[in-house]
Symmetry: C2
Subunit: 335 residues, 2 copies
């Protein structure tokens, strides 16, 4: 059987099912933004890995080494943000084709460090290798938190409100623009979208505040696309969900440049991956506390739907009614 027949999530399910289901000191194993394990009476350990491969996740003709280093760490920080954990230590696996220069790796690490330092993250180890052709980066980010205060994908309950931070779709549109600029200088709106793709901001303080104040009951970062990531919350929480298409937050730059038919802009925002915003479920009685908290955040929050009973499934509704879900899927590596 070929990998594309089972797809990325089929493969992950197969791996998960072939290992023992639980282990005494593993609080959260496969199936969340990060794993949580216990080392004793102190804080619990929160760990995540992200893999970036040249020509799959990035193209060196579109991204310079400095922003690539930054983004490699940002995507991992975003996973810990979605747990409400505090990042601490990173290990890196780096395979480098011999055509790359020492200056390239210097810039790559300078970019990574520029994001690591203000977030209190130290580089503690790794492995380096030559690569016959493509560059390959795998970052393991280790953080900490108390399990009672961390936010998992499970925990959403029917009746909860669904929120996202920031705006969605900017990153997908930024990537689309990068491929079509062809050396032309970017306008300020285009620059905003390009930056949203190449230099995403992990919502660490936001995730930690939501966790500490117990405002979010389930949380995930939007990396595969809103629809796909909400699907993960529904699966892990054993619930359904309803999204109002016209509430999906869009930036002014996105609205003015998205190449979609009028009234269909939200499809880009719903499907687009790599937003690295937070999607979370919160009980309705926390709405005021949430609004007060989010007032301090430049990214803001938007209520986009609600958690429903499992039997309702995952529904997106625009002004005409429910939308055919087959058009809404996110990215699958093997499909």
């Amino acid at each position: 059987m070929k990998l594309r027949e089972i797809g990325e999530f089929g493969l992950i399910a197969r791996i998960k099912n072939s290992w023992p289901a639980s282990s005494p000191r593993v609080i959260q194993g496969i199936g969340d933004d990060a794993a949580v394990s216990s080392l004793g009476p102190g804080n619990d350990l929160v760990s995540t890995v992200d893999l970036l491969i040249e020509d799959v996740h990035f193209d060196l003709s579109f991204i310079e080494p400095y922003p690539l280093g930054r983004k490699s760490l940002a995507v991992n920080l975003s996973d810990l943000a979605a747990m409400g954990a505090t990042p601490r230590w990173l290990l890196i696996s780096l395979a480098l084709p011999s055509r790359l220069s020492v200056e390239f790796t210097d810039q790559f690490f300078a970019g990574m460090q520029a994001l690591a330092q203000p977030n209190g993250v130290s580089l503690i180890g790794g492995d380096t290798s030559s690569s016959p052709d493509r560059m390959f980066v795998s970052i393991t980010l280790l953080g900490e938190g108390k399990k009672e205060a961390l936010v998992f994908r499970h925990g959403a309950k029917p009746g909860d409100d669904l929120y996202v931070t920031g705006t969605l779709g900017d990153s997908l549109l930024g990537l689309h623009l990068a491929k079509n600029l062809r050396g032309r200088a970017a306008s300020p709106e285009e620059r905003f979208l390009l930056e949203r793709h190449f230099d995403p901001t992990p919502r660490l303080q936001e995730g930690q505040a939501l966790a500490e104040r117990r405002l979010a009951r389930a949380m995930i970062d939007v990396s595969d696309g809103l629809f796909s990531d909400l699907y993960h919350i529904c699966e892990e929480s054993q619930v359904g969900a309803l999204i109002w298409a016209d509430r999906i937050p869009q930036s002014p730059a996105f609205r003015s440049l998205v190449p979609a038919s009028p009234g269909e802009e939200w499809k880009w925002a719903l499907r687009g991956g790599e937003d690295y915003e937070l999607l979370f479920a919160a009980p309705p009685d926390k709405a005021e506390d949430l609004a007060a908290l989010a007032k301090e955040w430049p990214c803001g929050i938007t209520r986009i739907g609600r958690v429903e009973p499992r039997s309702h499934g995952l529904v997106v509704r625009d002004e005409k009614g429910p939308v055919d879900p087959s058009s809404l899927k996110g990215y699958d590596h093997f499909a």
Copy 2:
């Protein structure tokens, strides 16, 4: 400047020097078999990463997915063995070309699990991706131990004895055989050497016993080759060392099949990488305790030299006198 001009260890030094030298809760950062960090009053966290790339570290025409999965974990277990730590959790980054089948990944994970389970290791997370051509595996292994009982590369003192577990050179000779068998059935001696290459045994119990009983003052696993790995101990401990070439332990299969001139067999054993034996320094007054402990080990230990003052450098001596060190280097990924 090209990466090959500075080499793998030059790159690692450059990365290390560009980050802040210390961080309050990092007990051991870059420069040992694993990193050690503190999460609070419980055990300390010990973490290591190893990267395996198709056509660099393995060739799928020589190795089946089951032993590949096993070996991918074994090399990481060996790093924790060299710290005297107890392995607990693993995260995996896996990039798979679409030509590979679901059966391939099933076998790969079955092999990994066959080694994980008896060693108490759980798979807690990871990331998967398609790969345009080559398979990439990066494993992060997390373990624990108390910093006072862990054994680092620093700590060796002039006058200490140098020991290795098991025999050296088998793995390099096994790889050499694999490339030359061309479908012919292997003899029992050849099978032993092939197994030493494709299915190495990490010396976990041995490393933990040496650490717990405070018998080793500095320790490393032999992955790049005895000479290179001893060089790391010398650098981190700021000492020199003397190795007696004729004491380097060789297996009977190695002795009967190594294609070296008589009296030069030890050069294969000294240079050969991927032995995954432990090299450690112990004070002479521990010699009896060590001998008693190692009697219980099937792999045994051999005293191969001693730690010298820094000014003596790193010297290998055969029956004719000191050997030219330029012929003794291990593997460098970018050289």
